[in-house]
């Protein structure tokens, strides 16, 4: 087709016009704050003014015991929650694969329910379940003669509690995505395995899991990014305690920013958080995508 020059420019003008609103919001509400965070992390904030003080915020940060604990807690959270969520979703998805369509829809509906439930409601419910004095989890354990445990007030059990709540919250979309991925695997593979006498576990391990790797890669990255940003659940269930046992990097950031008004430090945490997440994402991508074809 022979386009005149003016038509070409006009065509591009429309394209730029169409992406303009999104781009504007992107610049104002994403790029600008990002740059500002960087600048703020290198400054010290007084009431009305700020002074540029270089990397002294970062130095203060890395000698802060609470911050180091936050990093430790965050990594624990990610290292445990991601495999639990992936493992559970793969098991559940592969289980419902063989069932009827209606049961599959029902199961997906149930498991995705937490994602559409107000997070406040979820936290209230879980806080009550794990409650030391009349929580139903303790009442359930009492039936087996196990004494009440203070799940939320104990520095050892507090983080595992958060991990379970996160897992409960996060299995929804992985199950849906894995169901789709598993549905695309040709049944003939499994039939061949049946002929060779493979067990269910072998079928899962050698056929299913390798073939759903793209989904696993995507989920690992998305779940990690999401976990680093956990805040509400921690705030409403354990409040970051006891003794900072459930304080994560992002939780500490918000404490510093909105509780103590230490804007410089908070921004420095923000930068560290960003670098960590970006670095992890890139690492996960390169490590896990080596055998994946798109």
């Amino acid at each position: 087709m022979n386009k005149t020059l003016s038509k070409q420019i006009l065509k591009n003008k429309i394209a730029y016009l169409f992406i303009f609103p999104s781009f504007l919001a992107y610049i104002v509400f994403l790029v600008y704050p990002l740059i500002r965070t960087l600048i703020m992390s290198l400054s010290k904030y007084e009431v009305r003014s700020f002074t540029f003080i270089g990397i002294s915020n970062y130095i203060k940060l890395f000698s802060d015991e609470i911050f180091k604990k936050a990093i430790f807690n965050t990594f624990l959270l990610v290292i445990f929650t991601v495999p639990v969520v992936l493992g559970l979703s793969i098991l559940i998805a592969s289980f419902i694969m063989k069932k009827s369509h209606r049961l599959r829809s029902f199961a997906m509906g149930i498991f995705y329910l937490p994602s559409v439930t107000s997070i406040v409601t979820i936290c209230i419910a879980w806080k009550w379940i794990y409650s030391a004095r009349n929580g139903i989890f303790n009442e359930f354990l009492n039936l087996f003669g196990i004494a009440d445990v203070n799940w939320l007030g104990n520095a050892v059990t507090a983080l595992p509690v958060i991990i379970t709540v996160m897992a409960y919250n996060m299995v929804g979309s992985p199950i849906i995505l894995y169901s789709a991925a598993m549905g695309a695997i040709p049944k003939s593979y499994y039939e061949l395995a049946d002929i060779e006498g493979a067990t269910n576990f072998q079928k899962l391990w050698n056929i299913t899991i390798p073939l759903i790797k793209p989904t696993t890669l995507y989920l690992t990255i998305v779940l990690t990014i999401g976990l680093f940003q956990t805040f509400v659940i921690i705030k409403l269930i354990t409040g970051g305690g006891p003794y900072y046992a459930t304080t994560t990097i992002s939780f500490h950031l918000i404490q510093m920013a909105f509780l103590f008004s230490k804007y410089g430090i908070a921004s420095a945490i923000g930068v560290v958080l960003l670098v960590l997440v970006a670095g992890l994402t890139i690492t996960q991508f390169t490590l896990l995508s080596s055998e994946v074809e798109y």
Partner: protein, 243 residues
């Protein structure tokens, strides 16, 4: 899993083993001065955000999917990498910005920032990519303007995806306690999740009243979800296929 919801409902009526089942808690909530205002706030904010996100994402998604212009891939890549930016990293300056613009405790303050998140753009790009080019070309040959092509051809054909995105965004925004907590302070501007959280904070709230509040604030979205489940699942699957 599902036990959580019935438990809350049961607790809100009375005790775990209902002795006197009563709707008293629900009634007292409904009688709160601002209850209907809060409900309106939640719905209005979520609906506005949903509609705006759908509109802008469709515009951008169409441009990225069907148009070839200088810098297209680079700009798209710019949008893509923001998915890895943790919310908290930009939170403080964003909050200060909203404050400086005088948008604290306003509808705009809550509705505008989410427009920057490019998830909707990715979704719409995937959807619109599947629209056959021939149809668009035919429209152009017929002399339709770009706007007409967008409004009369693209949007109707992308409707399933748009609806999925709308529902997704609506429910997501409605439940976004975190952002609401930061922006909304005035009592008349609160949203339902905020109200329930405040009930939770106060030491003198009966557990049953709290559960009633939790149920009221989350039930609408759950019902909406159950009714529209198909669209949800579709949206999740399309959103996971990166352009």
């Amino acid at each position: 899993m599902v036990g959580l919801q019935p438990d809350s409902i049961v607790r809100s009526l009375n005790t775990l083993i209902p002795r006197d089942v009563s709707l008293e808690n629900f009634k007292s909530l409904l009688n709160l001065k601002y209850f209907y205002r809060w409900t309106f706030n939640s719905i209005f904010i979520s609906l506005s955000t949903g509609l705006l996100v759908c509109f802008f994402s469709s515009l951008s998604g169409y441009a990225f999917a069907k148009k070839d212009f200088p810098g297209r891939d680079f700009i798209f890549w710019c949008f893509l990498i923001t998915m890895a930016i943790p919310r908290q990293s930009i939170l403080l300056p964003l909050f200060i910005l909203i404050n400086d613009l005088g948008m604290l405790s306003t509808f705009q303050g809550l509705i505008l920032p989410p427009l920057a998140w490019p998830f909707g753009i990715f979704l719409m790009k995937q959807i619109i990519k599947t629209i056959p080019n021939e149809i668009i070309d035919a429209g152009r040959i017929d002399g339709a303007s770009e706007w007409q092509i967008f409004l009369k051809l693209i949007i109707p054909m992308a409707k399933p995806g748009i609806i999925a995105l709308l529902i997704f965004t609506f429910i997501g925004t409605y439940n976004d306690y975190f952002w609401q907590l930061l922006v909304m302070n005035k009592e008349s501007m609160l949203t339902l999740p905020l109200v329930v959280a405040r009930l939770n904070d106060r030491y003198d709230t009966k557990a049953t009243l709290l559960m009633a509040g939790a149920v009221i604030s989350s039930l609408p979205m759950i019902i909406l979800y159950i009714v529209l489940q198909k669209h949800f699942i579709k949206g999740i699957r399309i959103g996971a296929v990166k352009g």
